[in-house]
Symmetry: C2
Subunit: 418 residues, 2 copies
């Protein structure tokens, strides 16, 4: 597997565009399109929120019932959630308009929205935007970048990625773009994530791969504990790489899985690092748990703790808050027989093997360790803060990603609508 | 039932003190004592955190095994959590010293600690503090106030309360003091709460009453979603009012229960209103749910949502965040058949009966209502913000209390230890 330049237009046959439609923001791109020359197999995961935005309902129906699509139209500024029957009509009209202009069926068009909940999307602006998108669509790298910028809301950087992977001698490419900065506590996936690939793979295999992979990637990040109404992650596979169909139990499957995992994990970490107001990425790994589920729950509890997040913003080695967050995660463990370290990226694999010598021990078996506050403050002042928890109980592990809690998070969310 | 002046010293036979012991802070009271002339029946609820502070373990043993006590010694500044065997020894020495000076048994002394996790409590300062407390203890109102001030950490106001209630013709008094400003998301009770009463009541009856009552009071508040390692709520009943023993199924039981509920609800609301950095109390009531459990979970989800809390800090009527928080609470409901209002204290009973005419409708049956943003901003700018949710599904309801998320919350918690 090799990371290459570009994003969603990197795989064969994919086109993208990002344009200004003036939906909510002025002078910025706020509509994006993905289009594939050939129909795609599509797999998706969606928010677990009981309140689902209209585009989520629209996409779920297509993904579940049809399993194929050829285009995606996304707008930012307005989420089209809490919008009733009118919101559903707007999804349909959006798909109809895109279908007409692209010469495809309306149920081959997926839609996505992100922004404020409760307002209706201005359909005339959407239609005008679609005309611009169709005219601008291109298979070059710049078009993918445009699209990845058009889906941003409070994100400070666009997030795109492309990799190639050899699948039984054939080069397959995956591209991705994601957005999401607040209301991020995916219980399914993040706000909006799109992966394109030219791999040949069927709907069921792709769906199973995706649903498993989000458990250790998008579902392991949190910015603020709020699970959005709009979370959507879609993978579109147009089959143009011409590889042998990817089937479970083969090396090709493992290779594709590793590539998809790399793409999802990288994008998920970027979302956490670019959390609203965030100054630092917090990576928490729980090692030697009795089950993966327990490890995940414990790791997520630490990166979701407001007090831990605020302490890290203050570069304060207040490890009691880490211990406290582990304690209320709802998983059984023995606080008198476990350890907490500040870790680092380089020695994580070593730690997974039980060698924590490269970490800084801060708590073990019931009491605080004798560590240097000065050294700890240095580690906590970095862009990426690593917390390792050794449960000394089993062989399972999990990692979760979050960010610090800053004044800017409050600022951004106190006046998001204004 | 009648609210009267004072706090924990209001019931007959109770003494209190608050003194400066110099444990962590200078020039402020940081140790408190409650002492009763006669041994008390004691009931308690404690943190559900897997990591329990040493004083929590000490108290749990006494409350569960013995069910009686005569004194409580509390220190602030250091939580005595994450302190191993040494932490337990310090609890025992604290109780021993207090017992010696008060002329009672060491297992009649309950202890409490709040503050930073991980440091050891300086036992010599504690012992000197106990001597001061014993010398200063008094049954007057001022002594109760001193104690309620001594248990504060980041609280901005002390929280005490007293009521009298006629129990079968005999006047019974209840007094209370509580503290808790951050790390407040009780799943049992708040950080530290103490209720004194001169009622005659047995251990089992008092325990059952307390455990039921915290479900709708202390367990319904949240400041930051972090469940502390030290949460402790104790009720001490010394029987000096001389009433007939309170038994389940009698009017006396109902009268006492109402008084205890008023005390607990009032104190719990005060904790939420005085949450770290808070500018406003947020009260969310969910009406017409199919079960009390569902109503509680939904109400708690709203007051725990960082995004909702930040929007209220910004006086921004971003009701999509309320809807979103209801949606991810994990309870089933129909977003197309329900309503959300901004309410008020005066008309809450009316609302409970299904008359929402005094509320401002902001969302109903799938879409936003046509309300005045200006009026909404006025309601959201008050010290107390009321959110009513009408699920239109059943007859159960619940109320939860939280606070807004402000710059000051981040500030306080970014440098709490310094």
């Amino acid at each position: 597997m090799k990371q290459i330049n570009g994003g969603i237009t990197a795989p064969k046959g994919f086109y993208a565009a990002g344009v200004e439609a003036g939906i909510k923001y002025e002078n910025r791109k706020d509509m994006a399109m993905i289009y594939s020359e050939k129909p795609c197999v599509v797999a998706g995961t969606f928010t677990s929120n009981r309140v689902k935005a209209a585009p989520v309902k629209w996409d779920m129906k297509i993904v579940d019932e049809k399993g194929s699509a050829q285009a995606v139209v996304v707008n930012t500024g307005i989420a089209n959630a809490g919008t009733g029957a009118e919101g559903m009509r707007i999804c349909e009209e959006t798909a109809e308009e895109a279908a007409k202009q692209l010469g495809i069926e309306k149920d081959a068009v997926l839609v996505g929205s992100t922004g404020v909940i409760g307002a209706q999307v201005p359909i005339e602006k959407i239609k005008a935007g679609i005309a611009k998108l169709v005219a601008a669509k291109d298979s070059g790298t710049a078009a993918g970048t445009d699209a990845s910028k058009a889906i941003m809301t409070t994100d400070t950087v666009n997030k795109e990625l492309a990799v190639t992977v050899e699948i039984a001698g054939v080069t397959v490419t995956l591209g991705a773009m994601s957005k999401g900065s607040g209301m991020i506590h995916p219980n399914m996936c993040t706000m909006l994530g799109y992966v394109t690939t030219d791999a040949v793979i069927d709907h069921d295999t792709l769906t199973e791969l995706l649903k498993n992979d989000v458990q250790s990637t998008y579902n392991m990040i949190s910015v603020d504990g709020d699970t959005s109404t709009n979370d959507t992650l879609l993978v579109l596979a147009n089959g143009m790489a011409g590889n042998e169909p990817i089937k479970k139990g083969t090396q090709a499957y493992e290779d594709f899985r590793a590539a998809l995992h790399f793409v999802n994990e990288t994008q998920a970490k970027r979302l956490a690092a670019d959390g609203e107001g965030a100054m630092a990425l917090i990576e928490t790994s729980v090692f030697h748990a009795q089950s993966v589920e327990a490890a995940r729950k414990l790791a997520r509890s630490v990166i979701s703790s407001s007090l831990t997040k605020a302490a890290i913003y203050g570069h304060d080695s207040n490890w009691g808050r880490i211990l406290c967050a582990l304690g209320y995660a709802g998983e059984d463990f023995d606080p008198e027989h476990m350890a907490i370290y500040y870790g680092n990226a380089a020695a994580k694999e070593q730690a997974a093997k039980g060698d924590f010598s490269k970490g800084m021990l801060i708590y073990e078996d019931g009491i605080g360790a004798d560590y240097s506050e000065e050294e700890a403050t240095k580690l906590l002042s970095k862009d990426e803060v690593y917390i390792w928890v050794d449960l000394k109980a089993g062989n399972e592990s999990a990692t979760a990603w979050g960010c610090d809690l800053t004044y800017d998070y409050v600022k951004i969310n106190a006046d998001y609508r204004s």
